[in-house]
């Protein structure tokens, strides 16, 4: 995985990522320019006006024009950042959702400290859920009496998506506030209990990536890590088929094969499984 991550921004594999990255670069360019100019001024002022014999302070000074111009320029630049970058990018990300018919629809239900990924199955309809049905083998409380639920697939911490296809994720939480973050997708959204918040993205590259929780959600916040896999359309469908529940026993969610058996990162020796 080394090639994906380094000391700067992680690689970007989403269609909307470049817009966000561009804004980050532009802002940092402005910051650098301002800071360097400003620091240079400071150094010059400190050397030139140090206290020394024969040098006295000046009481009255002409009003400086340059700083006012710079301040106005900064203000204008901020307007440009807002109107030219932030507003349109945010509008694109938040309001311009892909056509649901052409997109992959997924529900993700966060809980301490797991991401439950709920695919609607072949019928494209999510089965009914009920919080009173939630159990160890039925993490989202799928109602097996609902015919639409029969082909639903619920995975734990395993999120597979096809490449070059828009994905709409409906985010909700069972317990506390989490934050659904896929750094390589430039996607981050707080997951608020009591609400369902949609996000969308489209992957441009295949590979194995990760979902992080970005909001403190308790003891296991640090290990609320999901596996995010971008595959070709074919690979995705064969994976989805292999995860289908066995026909005779409906609504028996195959959690066993879906469970991440061991995290590939070196396990910490904290010895806490809270």
């Amino acid at each position: 995985m080394e090639k994906y991550y380094g000391w700067g921004l992680p690689i970007d594999i989403s269609t909307q990522g470049p817009e966000i990255d561009r804004l980050i670069y532009v802002v940092h360019g402005l910051m650098a320019a301002l800071f360097i100019g400003w620091f240079a001024y400071l150094v010059i002022a400190l050397i030139r006006f140090r206290q020394r014999p024969g040098h006295a302070a000046v009481y009255q000074l002409n009003h400086f024009k340059a700083p006012t111009y710079i301040e106005v320029a900064v203000a204008l630049f901020e307007v440009l950042l807002l109107v030219g970058f932030s507003f349109p990018v945010l509008n694109h990300v938040r309001n311009v959702f892909p056509d649901p018919a052409k997109a992959l629809q997924v529900r993700i239900v966060a809980e301490q400290f797991v991401w439950n990924v709920h695919y609607p199955g072949d019928d494209g309809i999510f089965g009914k859920t009920n919080i009173h049905l939630i159990s160890g083998t039925n993490p989202v409380g799928l109602d097996s009496s609902d015919p639409a639920a029969k082909d639903d697939i619920v995975m734990i911490n395993q999120f597979h998506v096809p490449v070059h296809k828009p994905v709409i994720v409906q985010l909700s939480s069972k317990d506390v506030i989490h934050s659904f973050s896929i750094p390589v997708m430039r996607v981050k959204q707080d997951v608020i209990p009591g609400q369902t918040i949609p996000v969308w993205f489209e992957a441009t590259k295949t590979g194995n990536f990760e979902i992080a929780c970005a909001q403190l959600c308790g003891l296991g916040h640090y290990r609320m890590r999901g596996f995010f896999t971008v595959e070709t359309e074919d690979q995705f469908h064969s994976w989805l088929n292999s995860m289908k529940p066995p026909e005779p026993a409906p609504a028996n969610v195959p959690t066993a094969p879906a469970m991440p058996v061991a995290s590939p990162t070196p396990a910490s020796s904290g010895g806490v499984t809270g």
Partner: protein, 576 residues
């Protein structure tokens, strides 16, 4: 308080413990605040071990901790979360605010306005003891069976509602701290409005007093909503209500037996309605101190005094309508986020004006490079970095990637650590002679300044890189994530820098206590400054001034042409 009481006749406990004198209370605040800063810093030292070497037993120190916090020297996640939550709470509410507002405000404001004391001395004392009690409650919560609060200093519901009993103590502690701040701020406003010396009009006030004045309004009007939120969360925790709990929660596999119907975002709104103005509560007094120190040590008036005053008022006003930029990712609509992005960009303008004015004050001066000036000058670029890195966070689009990462940590620490804290250090070195009658050692001061400057940048600068890499905050073990593993060497570097930063504070501690005994004795006005506090004796007696001072001119009349001396005190009628 009877009318004929004189401090000389008072018993020890009235004079130094339950004192009504603003100077004693100011010192009490400052010393307590400094001790809490040290304590909060120590918590971070522990956290830094866990972050540099996740899950490795802590050498030597580890064996002294209770098994509920560390097992075999290995820090448990619950203890890590406690340290994180309490570091934030202690630094903000028990360290910086009490030192900046309670300490410097109490000691310096009445002196600078030529008043004998605060308007309500008894209220002042109650304010300190309420703060002290709040501190005791916060501190002792570490010794609860389940430890202290562990839901972050922001205490987001529902996590905080279902958290262990430490959170209840946190809330009670906060109620006491809020009470203290409310009493203090009403006192400051009344004092500054009513008790200014004759001739001291508002536009002759030292900038520090202006900063405290605006700060007091922020505290007065922004804290009560948090108190309301605190009461609601206490009800949620103790009376079983569901203000912050929506219906249908399932915690640890069990349906939560609550009525539901609440809203978790309500807490965030009420919290940030306070907590954003609170950021300015942390910054404004620091800016005030820097203005005082720079004017004195450049030997010239500060540049654009009136523009600065208008900016600080505007800043205070705007700080109430930017709060939701902390909540860009909570699913708010784009129109709403556009509004808060605009206000956030607007609020950056007065900050830039003040910072620019302070920087331009150097131009044409005759700058003395003593310790307070070094800290005050360092404040400028450090606060500048803090402010600039706020830009990508204030733009909701770039915030998507940077929100809740180490970038945020780096940003606000640049504002409050090398920013505010450096200004506070400048204030300590600047006013120490007034409080004690002795100067602090310049040698130790510089030994404190230079390593602090270097190491504090080594601590916070790499955090921006970690943030850009997407590393989340508050991770007990960052190496769980591949993207965080890539920057893990930075964590080791930060930790060592932080420990060295700790060592760099030893000269300050030695200097602070040692100078009480060995510092060079000084007269009233060791820095040859103009504001009123320097007309009083060092230390000022009970009642501050022998005669109520009368003010003839503005606060920073340095190097006035045609004068023999390069400073012209505010209360001097004749030429100087």
């Amino acid at each position: 308080m009877s009318h004929d009481d004189h401090s000389e006749k008072l018993p020890f406990w009235r004079k130094y413990i339950f004192s009504l004198d603003h100077k004693v209370i100011g010192v009490q605040y400052a010393v307590t605040g400094l001790l809490f800063l040290l304590f909060g810093f120590s918590l971070m030292m522990l956290i830094r071990w866990q972050l540099a070497y996740p899950g490795k037993p802590m050498p030597f120190l580890g064996q002294f901790f209770h098994p509920k916090t560390m097992i075999g020297g290995i820090m448990l996640p619950e203890f890590y979360n406690q340290l994180g939550a309490m570091h934030g709470t202690i630094m903000v509410f028990l360290g910086v605010v009490p030192l900046a507002v309670g300490g410097f405000g109490n000691y310096v404001v009445p002196l600078q306005i030529g008043a004998p004391d605060m308007a309500f001395p008894k209220l002042n004392m109650m304010s300190y003891w309420s703060y002290f009690l709040g501190g005791v409650v916060m501190f002792s919560s570490f010794f609860l069976p389940e430890g202290s609060a562990q839901s972050g200093w922001t205490s987001y519901a529902p996590l905080s509602v279902i958290a262990s009993s430490g959170q209840t103590w946190w809330l009670f502690g906060m109620v006491l701290l809020i009470t203290s701040s409310l009493l203090g701020s009403a006192n400051f406003i009344t004092t500054i409005v009513q008790l200014r010396a004759d001739g001291l009009s508002f536009f002759r006030l030292p900038f520090f007093v202006w900063a405290q004045f605006v700060t007091s309004f922020l505290l007065l009007l922004a804290f009560p909503p948090l108190e309301a939120a605190g009461v609601l969360q206490l009800m949620d925790r103790l009376a079983g209500t569901s203000f912050f709990l929506p219906s249908g929660l399932v915690v640890a596999g069990r349906v939560l037996e609550r009525s539901g119907g609440g809203n978790p975002l309500l807490w965030q709104h009420l919290f940030w309605f306070l907590a954003h103005p609170e950021v300015y509560v942390l910054i404004l007094p620091a800016m005030g101190i820097v203005a005082e120190v720079l004017a004195t040590n450049t030997r010239k008036p500060i540049y654009g005094y009136k523009a600065m005053v208008y900016s600080v008022i505007f800043l205070g006003f705007m700080s109430f309508i930017v709060w939701a930029h902390h909540m860009f990712l909570t699913g708010m609509g784009t129109k709403m986020s556009a509004f808060f992005q605009i206000t956030t960009m607007i609020i950056s303008i007065p900050s830039i004006v003040i910072l620019t004015a302070l920087a331009l004050s150097l131009w044409g001066g005759s700058i003395r490079f003593n310790t307070p000036t070094l800290f005050a000058i360092a404040f400028l670029p450090m606060f500048g970095i803090g402010g600039l890195t706020g830009l990508p966070l204030g733009l909701a689009a770039s915030d998507i990637h940077l929100h809740d990462t180490y970038y945020v940590i780096g940003h606000f620490h640049y504002v409050v650590a090398p920013g505010t804290l450096f200004a506070l250090f400048a204030g300590v070195y600047h006013w120490y002679p007034k409080v004690t009658g002795r100067k602090m050692s310049e040698f130790l001061g510089k030994l404190h300044f230079w390593p602090s400057l270097v190491f504090i940048n080594c601590v916070f600068m790499p955090m921006f890189l970690m943030g850009l890499a997407g590393v989340s905050r508050r991770l007990w073990d960052p190496t769980q994530y591949a993207h965080a593993q890539a920057v893990q060497p930075l964590n080791v570097f930060i930790s060592f820098s932080a420990w060295f930063l700790g060592l760099a504070q030893i000269p300050f501690i030695l200097n602070f206590f040692g100078s009480l005994l060995w510092g060079k004795k000084v007269d009233r006005n060791p820095w040859e400054a103009t504001t009123l506090e320097w007309s009083a004796l060092s230390p000022p007696p009970h009642g501050n001034f022998n005669h109520p001072p009368v003010v003839y001119r503005g606060p920073y009349e340095y190097s006035v042409p045609g004068q023999k001396h390069d400073f012209w005190p505010q209360d001097m009628k004749e030429k100087n």
